[in-house]
C-alpha cells in the first residue's frame, strides 16, 4: 500500500512539474468557454448592411431607422445607384443590401403596395437566411403597427414561447459541449500519451520490476487525471453559472456523478489507446482522430445530429460524448431527474466496462 501511495505521488509530480502543460490544461477550458460565450455566437448582432433608398421620403427614412435601431444591423453605407450593389457585396463586409423602390410612400398610400428588395450575401447561407427573415419581420411589424388597426381583427395571433431558454442564449449549447470536449481531452488524450511515453522512454520496464502490481500502475496513472478532470468539470460549471448565468436546474450531485462516469469512460478509452500505441506520436494521432474530431463534430456539440445524413447519424450512436451531452443538458437545463437519463447513463456505463475489459486483455498480453 505504501509503495502504491508513493507511485501516485510520483504521477502527480510528473504532471505538476510540467508547468507549461498545466497552464494550458487550465487555460484551455477558460479560454474556450469565454470564446464560445462572447465570440462564436450565432446571435445576429451589428450585421453591416447597405441601403439603396430610391425614394428618400419620410416612410423609408422611418423604416430605415427602425431597421438600424433594432440592434441586428448597422449601416455600412448608403448607396446611390443600383450599379453599386454588386461591387459592395463583392468587396465589402456588407451582408445585405436593402432597396426601397422609388416613390415608396406614395405607392404605399395610393396603391396599398410598395416594394422592398432584400439582397443578401448568401456565401454564408445561414446568416443570409436569418438576416433576410429578421429584416422581413421588422418591415412587416412596421406596416402592421403603422397602418393596420392595432387589433388584429379576426386574425390568428401567434404567441411564441421559447421554452428552457427564453432569450435564445448560446450558453445552453456550448457549456455542455465544452465540458465533453475538455474532459475527453484531459482524460483520454493525456492518459494515453502519458502511458505511451513511459513505454517509449523505457521507464515502463522499470515500473514493471517494482513490487507495484500492473493494476496498481494503471490505477496510479489514472488517479491524477481523474482529479484534474474533475476540477476542470467543476470549474466549467462555475464559469457557466457566474459568467453566463447558466442555471443548474437539476440535482448537482447527479450532475457530478454523471461527470465522474463520463471521466471514467474517457479514461478507459485512454488506457485502451495506450495499449495499442508504442510512441507518443501514435497515441496523439489516434486520440486526435478517434476522439477529438468526433467529439467536436459528431456529438451534437456544434452541429445538430438530426440534420446529418443517416449514415453519420448511425455513427453518432457510438460516440460517448453524445450521451454525456444529452445527460448534462437534461440535468442542467431541463432540471430532469435520474428517471429521464437512466438510458444514457446505462449506455455510458456499458461502454466504460467494455473498453476496460478490452484494455485489460490487451494490457496483459503485452506484459508477459
Amino acid at each position: 500500500m505504501k509503495s502504491f501511495l508513493g507511485f501516485i505521488r510520483k504521477e502527480f509530480l510528473h504532471i505538476f512539474r510540467d508547468y507549461r502543460t498545466m497552464l494550458l490544461l487550465f487555460g484551455m477550458p477558460i479560454a474556450e468557454i469565454l470564446i464560445f460565450g462572447y465570440v462564436v455566437t450565432n446571435e445576429i448582432k451589428d450585421i453591416p448592411v447597405a441601403i439603396l433608398d430610391q425614394s428618400k421620403d419620410a416612410v423609408t427614412r422611418e423604416i430605415t431607422s427602425k431597421i438600424l435601431s433594432s440592434g441586428y444591423f448597422k449601416l455600412e453605407q448608403n448607396l446611390e445607384g443600383a450599379e453599386e450593389i454588386e461591387a459592395i457585396l463583392k468587396t465589402g463586409h456588407v451582408k445585405e443590401v436593402i432597396v426601397f423602390e422609388a416613390d415608396f410612400s406614395n405607392k404605399l398610400e395610393k396603391e396599398g403596395r410598395a416594394a422592398v428588395q432584400l439582397l443578401a450575401d448568401a456565401s454564408d447561407p445561414n446568416i443570409a437566411n436569418l438576416i433576410v427573415h429578421y429584416t422581413e419581420g421588422i418591415l412587416n411589424d412596421y406596416i402592421r403597427k403603422q397602418y393596420l388597426d392595432t387589433e388584429m381583427v379576426g386574425l390568428v395571433n401567434p404567441q411564441v414561447r421559447m421554452v428552457y431558454n427564453q432569450s435564445l442564449k448560446g450558453v445552453f449549447m456550448f457549456v455542455p459541449g465544452t465540458m465533453a470536449l475538455i474532459l475527453m481531452l484531459i482524460s483520454a488524450m493525456m492518459t494515453s500519451i502519458s502511458i505511451a511515453r513511459e513505454k517509449e522512454l523505457g521507464t515502463m520496464e522499470v515500473l514493471m520490476v517494482t513490487p507495484v502490481r500492473p493494476t496498481q500502475i494503471v490505477i496510479g496513472k489514472v488517479i491524477p487525471y481523474i482529479t484534474l478532470s474533475f476540477t476542470n468539470a467543476i470549474m466549467i460549471i462555475l464559469l457557466g453559472f457566474f459568467v453566463f448565468g447558466l442555471p443548474v436546474r437539476g440535482s448537482i450531485i447527479l450532475l457530478l456523478a454523471e461527470s465522474l462516469l463520463y471521466i471514467s469512460l474517457a479514461l478507459s478509452l485512454g488506457i485502451l489507446i495506450s495499449t495499442m500505441a508504442n510512441s507518443q506520436q501514435v497515441a496523439m494521432f489516434i486520440s486526435l482522430f478517434a476522439l477529438m474530431l468526433p467529439t467536436m463534430l459528431l456529438s451534437g456539440f456544434i452541429f445538430p445530429i438530426e440534420n446529418m445524413p443517416v449514415i453519420l447519424q448511425w455513427l453518432t450512436h457510438i460516440m460517448p460524448p453524445k450521451y454525456f451531452i444529452i445527460v448534462i443538458k437534461n440535468i442542467m437545463i431541463k432540471g430532469d431527474g435520474f428517471m429521464y437519463v437512466w438510458k444514457e447513463t446505462l449506455v455510458m456505463a456499458g461502454m466504460t466496462g467494455f473498453f476496460l475489459l478490452l484494455a485489460i486483455r490487451k494490457f496483459k498480453t503485452r506484459l508477459e
Binding site: 446571435e43 450585421i47 386574425l155 390568428v156
Partner: protein
C-alpha cells in the same frame, strides 16, 4: 543554393519514411472533407411538430395542414393534452408544440382576434430562432388567406402591404456545403503549414539530430528555408487536392481566379509557417508543442469566422482577429471562390499578410538562432 536543395531532399525522404506523417498528409484531408462537410451542416432539414388541436374545426385543420405541407415541418404527434405535448418536448421528441385552443373557429367567425400558442424548445438558440421565423411566415400566410376570403371582416386599412422580395446572391440555393468547404480547406492548409514543420523541428530537437546539423556548415537561414519549402509544397498540394474533391463531389462553383487563390495561399502559408517555427523554438518535446498548437489553433479557428460571422463578434475579438491569420484567409478564400472577387478586392489583405509574413518569419529566424 545546393545546400538548400539537399536539405529539401532530406526532408522529403524523412516524410516518406515516417509512418505517422504519410497518413496525416493523405488520410486526414479525405476524412476531414468527407465527414466534416456532411456533418457540419446547420441547414434545417426537418422540424418535429407536436399538435394539440382543441378546436378541431375547419380553420384549425387548415392551419395544421399548412404546417405539414411545408417542407420544414413534420407533424410528429397529436394529442388533446398539453401535458403530453410538453412531455414530448422534454424528451426531445418534438421541437415545437402548436397549441390551438378551443374556440378558434368561433372567434374567426365573429371577427375577434384569437391566440394560438407555440412552444419552442430553445436549448439550441439558433435553431429556435429559425423555427420562430418559419412559424411566423406560415401563420402570416394563413392570415393573408383569411383576409382574402372574408374581406368584410377586416378593418379598412388592411390593404396596405409591403411587397418584399429577396435574392440570395452568390449561393442562390443556400447550399451550406459551399460555405463550409472553403472554411475546411483553410483549416486543412493551416494544420499542414503549422503543425508539420513545427513537429518535425521539435522532433529533431528531442532526438538530438539537430546538434549534427548545427555543427555542419549549413547556415541557419538555409536550414530553415530547407525545412519549410517541402511543407509549403505539400500544403499547396493539399489545397489543390481539396478543391478538386470539392469540385467533383460537391460541385462547388469556383468563380474567381485560381492563380490569385494560390498566390494568396502561398503568402498565407509563409505566415503560419513563421508562427509554427516560432512555437517550435518554445517547446522541448513533441507533447508540449502539440498542446501549444492545439490551444492556439482551436482559438484561431473559432475566432476566424469559420462557423459564425466575424462582424457579429465583440470589438475586442475583431481586434484580436487582426493578428489571426486564419481570419484573413477565411474571408479571402470565400470571396475568391464564391463571389469571384479579384485582385483589387483582396489587395488590402494581401499587403497585410505580406507584412505579417515578414514579421513572423523574421522573428522566428532571429529567435531560433538565439536559442539553439
Amino acid at each position: 543554393m545546393r545546400t538548400i536543395f539537399y536539405i529539401i531532399q532530406k526532408e522529403f525522404i524523412q516524410i516518406r519514411r515516417n509512418r505517422v506523417m504519410l497518413p496525416m498528409i493523405f488520410v486526414v484531408p479525405m476524412v476531414q472533407l468527407l465527414v466534416l462537410i456532411y456533418a457540419a451542416t446547420l441547414e434545417m432539414k426537418r422540424i418535429d411538430m407536436y399538435v394539440v388541436d382543441k378546436d378541431l374545426s375547419n380553420p384549425s385543420k387548415t392551419l395544421t395542414n399548412k404546417f405539414s405541407g411545408s417542407p420544414f415541418f413534420v407533424i410528429h404527434g397529436t394529442s388533446f393534452s398539453i401535458k403530453e405535448a410538453e412531455e414530448a418536448l422534454r424528451r426531445d421528441r418534438a421541437d415545437v408544440i402548436l397549441h390551438i385552443p378551443h374556440g378558434l373557429a368561433a372567434s374567426l367567425q365573429n371577427g375577434e382576434p384569437s391566440d394560438i400558442q407555440l412552444l419552442v424548445n430553445a436549448i439550441n438558440g439558433m435553431k429556435a430562432g429559425l423555427i420562430n421565423a418559419y412559424v411566423i411566415n406560415i401563420i402570416n400566410d394563413f392570415n393573408r388567406e383569411i383576409r382574402q376570403e372574408r374581406p368584410g371582416l377586416v378593418s379598412l386599412n388592411t390593404g396596405m402591404e409591403l411587397d418584399i422580395r429577396y435574392q440570395y446572391w452568390f449561393n442562390s440555393e443556400l447550399n451550406f456545403k459551399f460555405f463550409m468547404l472553403p472554411g475546411i480547406l483553410v483549416i486543412l492548409v493551416t494544420i499542414m503549414g503549422m503543425f508539420l514543420p513545427g513537429l518535425s523541428l521539435v522532433r529533431e530537437k528531442e532526438l538530438g539530430t539537430i546538434e549534427q546539423i548545427n555543427v555542419s556548415p549549413i547556415r541557419k537561414i538555409q536550414f530553415i528555408i530547407g525545412k519549410l519549402i517541402p511543407f509549403w509544397i505539400i500544403a499547396l498540394f493539399e489545397l489543390a487536392f481539396g478543391l478538386t474533391i470539392g469540385k467533383i463531389l460537391f460541385d462547388i462553383p469556383i468563380r474567381g481566379n485560381l492563380l490569385l487563390l494560390f498566390g494568396f495561399a502561398s503568402v498565407y502559408l509563409l505566415v503560419v509557417m513563421g508562427i509554427g517555427l516560432f512555437f517550435s523554438t518554445l517547446a522541448q518535446t513533441q507533447q508540449q508543442i502539440m498542446f501549444l498548437f492545439f490551444f492556439f489553433v482551436i482559438v484561431f479557428i473559432l475566432m476566424s469566422g469559420v462557423f459564425t460571422p466575424t462582424e457579429s463578434m465583440p470589438d475586442w475579438a475583431q481586434f484580436v482577429n487582426h493578428i489571426n491569420p486564419l481570419a484573413y484567409f477565411m474571408r479571402v478564400i470565400r470571396m475568391i471562390i464564391l463571389k469571384g472577387s479579384g485582385l483589387l478586392d483582396v489587395g488590402r489583405e494581401i499587403i497585410s499578410l505580406g507584412l505579417y509574413a515578414m514579421v513572423a518569419l523574421g522573428l522566428a529566424t532571429w529567435w531560433y538562432r538565439k536559442t539553439t
